[in-house]
């Protein structure tokens, strides 16, 4: 394949291209589109929840359907929207920021995406096949064991498959950052977004296996008659809670740390200042990740673990406030004395600071175990985690999308629409969730299908629902902005924001080999250094030469499809042993793909020097 062949293709060829691509930038786009789709789906589910709760004792949804709705809203948003969108941004930007031509394992990168997608599709198939999972996104046993139908089975298989994809993605990023940084790009010169990608990947690596085991135990109990959570046979349901939260709490940081990275890059760029306290920022990130593994039981203060465990986990949890505080103040320190440009990307970032601070404060409040006896499993908790996940993660994703859209897609998102969607979403967000802190303490537990009349909960819920609709409209306008931009948007230059890091040194969108010559890095903010002290562009670290690129492959798609088929087999073999055939066919397909991958040599191909020279600079 040559550069010329990579362009000028028909529609089917383009589809084939995306099915087989191992290019991190195309995989990023796949992640962004799939994640965006699931985000809209999860948003729709959220609106159904809020419509049901618009008034007391409402009957818009039945009790069963409501439980399916909350379960799918949470599961979708965490696993199928927030994480893939972040993985998309990481894929698109991290290799560019460290001056790499690709990732360490392009094949696995593609496999990671397709596993995630097929896992997500499998999970959502449940809607059409007898009902979605209904035991909450936390799927506590024994409720999840007793849940009738196949909903929870879809949860198990869908998450198992997509979780495997995420784990693969994490390992890929780790190795990429360790071995493929450009000459001069030391660890302490990496942009914060690359740093947080690294730390997040460590979290993925150590957190996801706990979920994998938890899901296996659930699967064995539900599908193969094991007794892990069956009290009559000596089972213990609290094991699930431990495994789930040993995964689940680091998961929160898996989501928020990349957002921190995004904000750090954006604040620095639009304040035209070097990140204040860079070293402290890096170590705060690592410290948060480390502490993130020590605090899982603060989700279980009311389980009855005893005062010693509760006290230890309470203090460990409060400790996280310190590095988080360092980050907030360092961001303020970066802006202080700067020259702040406020555009859509920066608006989301600026909105993040107070919103996330409130989320962090309620986090510390929740860490106080005895106070948590009141907050636990109420709307206070719902409000808290939406303040951190929407106010932190979603704002971060939206900020990142506005910031890097030109780099990824080559067009600048419309500012007017961007600001409009921001204000609607921002106001809607606070309207929806601020009041929920109070609802919780006024006696409204979470996951309540109805709240009763005459309990003082009517106004708060009504306000909350109105806010949710504002958020919905804001989200819709963002979608319109994307469509408008892709049709009429302004073409982006290589460096639209007067950027500082390496991704702004190459064309928008970048060529598929990223860097014609591997760059030489002379410090933190390499492009800024060259702009202010050098000749305005990055010095290459090597003479122009052949570039080695990996081979495209359809195997990841087929392999993931195999697991998808096997997933159905596992779910339905409980009803009829004939479905075991689906397991064999699906697993067989996946295994054959692995075998082909092992037996066939993949040497990649070279882009020749002459072709590169023909390309204009």
């Amino acid at each position: 394949m040559s550069i010329a062949a990579a362009q000028n293709k028909g529609f089917l060829a383009a589809v084939w291209d995306y099915l087989t691509t191992v290019d991190h930038k195309k995989i990023a786009k796949l992640y962004l589109f799939a994640g965006g789709f699931f985000f809209l789906l999860g948003g729709l589910e959220a609106l159904f929840i809020r419509i049901q709760l618009i008034s007391p004792e409402n009957d818009f949804l039945t009790a069963g359907l409501y439980n399916e709705m909350i379960t799918m809203h949470g599961t979708t948003m965490i696993f199928l929207a927030a994480m893939p969108l972040l993985l998309g941004l990481m894929n698109a930007i991290m290799p560019l920021q460290i001056g790499a031509r690709d990732v360490a394992f392009p094949f696995l990168n593609s496999l990671g995406f397709w596993l995630f997608l097929f896992g997500g599709v499998l999970l959502n198939c449940s809607w059409f096949l007898g009902g979605a999972p209904d035991a909450g996104w936390t799927s506590y046993a024994p409720l999840s064991i007793q849940s009738p139908g196949h909903g929870v089975d879809f949860y198990i298989m869908g998450l198992q498959i997509s979780g495997a994809g995420t784990l693969i993605g994490g390992i890929n990023f780790l190795v990429t950052i360790v071995t493929m940084r450009a000459p001069g790009m030391t660890y302490m010169r990496m942009p914060l977004f690359s740093w947080t990608t690294f730390v997040t990947s460590v979290l993925i690596l150590f957190a996801f296996p706990a979920l994998t085991v938890g899901l296996f135990l659930l699967m064995f109990d539900r599908m193969f008659g094991a007794a892990f959570f069956d009290v009559t046979l000596g089972g213990n349901a609290v094991i699930w809670q431990h495994l789930f939260w040993i995964f689940g709490h680091p998961e929160v940081y898996i989501l928020i740390l990349p957002a921190f990275g995004i904000f750090s890059d954006i604040i620095s760029t639009f304040s035209k200042k070097r990140l204040f306290g860079y070293t402290a920022m890096v170590f705060a990130t690592i410290l948060i990740a480390f502490l993130g593994f020590m605090v899982w039981a603060h989700h279980m203060f009311t389980v009855g673990l005893g005062p010693v465990a509760n006290a230890i986990f309470a203090i460990a949890t409060m400790a996280i406030a310190v590095p988080t505080g360092i980050k907030i103040f360092n961001w303020l320190g970066t802006m202080w004395g700067g020259s702040i440009t406020i555009n859509s990307a920066m608006l989301w970032t600026l909105a993040f600071i107070p919103s996330f601070t409130i989320g962090g404060m309620t986090g510390v409040m929740l860490a106080s175990a005895v106070a948590d006896y009141q907050y636990h499993d109420t709307y206070f908790v719902v409000a808290h985690f939406h303040y951190v996940i929407v106010g932190g993660v979603v704002f971060g994703i939206l900020a990142g999308l506005h910031y890097w859209w030109p780099k990824i897609f080559g067009k600048i998102l419309n500012e007017t629409l961007g600001k409009l969607s921001f204000w609607l979403f921002f106001i809607g967000f606070h309207l929806t969730f601020f009041i929920q802190h109070f609802l919780g303490l006024m006696g409204m537990p979470r996951r309540y299908w109805v709240f009763l009349k005459d309990q003082g909960l009517d106004t708060g819920n009504l306000v909350s629902t109105i806010g949710a609709f504002l958020m919905g409209v804001g989200g819709l306008i963002f979608v319109i902005n994307i469509i408008y931009t892709s049709v009429k948007g302004e073409k982006a230059p290589a460096d639209p924001w007067d950027g500082r890091s390496l991704e702004w040194a190459i064309p928008s969108p970048p060529p598929f080999y990223n860097f014609k010559q591997t760059p030489l890095i002379r410090g933190l903010d390499p492009l800024w250094i060259e702009k202010t002290e050098g000749k305005g562009k990055i010095t290459p670290a090597e003479p122009l030469g052949d570039i080695h690129m990996p081979d495209a492959s359809i195997l990841p798609f087929i392999m993931s499809f195999g697991f998808f088929i096997a997933g159905f087999g596992f779910i339905y073999q409980v009803d009829h042993k004939g479905w075991l055939a689906a397991i064999f066919v699906g697993m067989g397909t996946a295994l054959i793909c692995m075998l082909i991958r092992s037996l066939k040599d993949y040497h990649g191909f070279h882009i020749h020097k002459e072709e590169l020279e023909r390309e204009a600079d």
């Binding site: 150590f206 007794a227 040497h603």
Partner: protein
């Protein structure tokens, strides 16, 4: 093709498994993967420890476990780890034939281990009616030991595919990292077994 040449140099470097970027990546990637596997097994061990006395009136660890067979299994797997070290030593000597030979022995030892494990499970099921479904302890025992056994099966398949695929063409910089990562994986399986031997069987025998 240019890369054929670059992957088959005149003289093999000292560490053929890490001579290429792909090799380094595979090596590092596998190490990270083993980090994740450690958490996986730690979770399984935790579950087992929490449930090992939950026999629901069925057979308990002290009724079931005999150390003779398990000791043989441990020896088999430890030896197979040693033979895989010899194989890697021969790889660094660029002696492909001897490497394949040692790996062949590794595979045979691994299979012998699996045969013992299958016999052990068969024994528990038929002599004691102790199954995956009989109690929470049963579920936890078969899950932990079975996950390890599954890893052995996967490792063996990996090894056999590698040996067959490269039997005729000898060692080069493309397949050296594959052999090397296999040996790392095999050591890991061995280490996990040592923990199983201690936590499940020794501690189980003590009661």
């Amino acid at each position: 093709m240019s890369h054929d040449h670059s992957l088959n140099p005149e003289t093999m470097p000292q560490e053929p498994e890490k001579a290429t970027l792909e090799g380094k990546n595979k090596f590092l990637g596998l190490w990270f993967f083993l980090g994740g596997e450690t958490v996986l097994f730690a979770s399984l061990f935790g579950t087992y420890l929490a449930l090992r006395n939950s026999t629901a009136g069925g057979p308990a660890t002290t009724d079931l476990f005999g150390l003779e067979l398990v000791f043989v299994m441990t020896m088999l797997l430890l030896t197979s780890s040693l033979t895989s070290v010899y194989a890697m030593y021969q790889m660094k000597n660029n002696n492909f034939k001897k490497m394949q030979l040692w790996l062949g022995i590794t595979a045979l030892l691994g299979m012998a281990f699996l045969a013992c494990e299958l016999y052990e499970f068969y024994h528990y099921i038929h002599e004691y009616e102790f199954t995956f479904r009989s109690s929470a302890f049963g579920s936890a025992f078969y899950t932990l030991v079975g996950f390890h056994g599954g890893h052995v099966v996967f490792g063996l398949s990996w090894l056999i595919v590698l040996m067959v695929r490269n039997a005729k063409r000898g060692l080069n910089l493309y397949n050296a990292p594959k052999y090397y990562t296999f040996s790392l994986y095999w050591h890991f399986i061995d280490v996990v077994w040592v923990f199983i031997f201690t936590v499940v069987y020794l501690m189980g025998k003590v009661g």
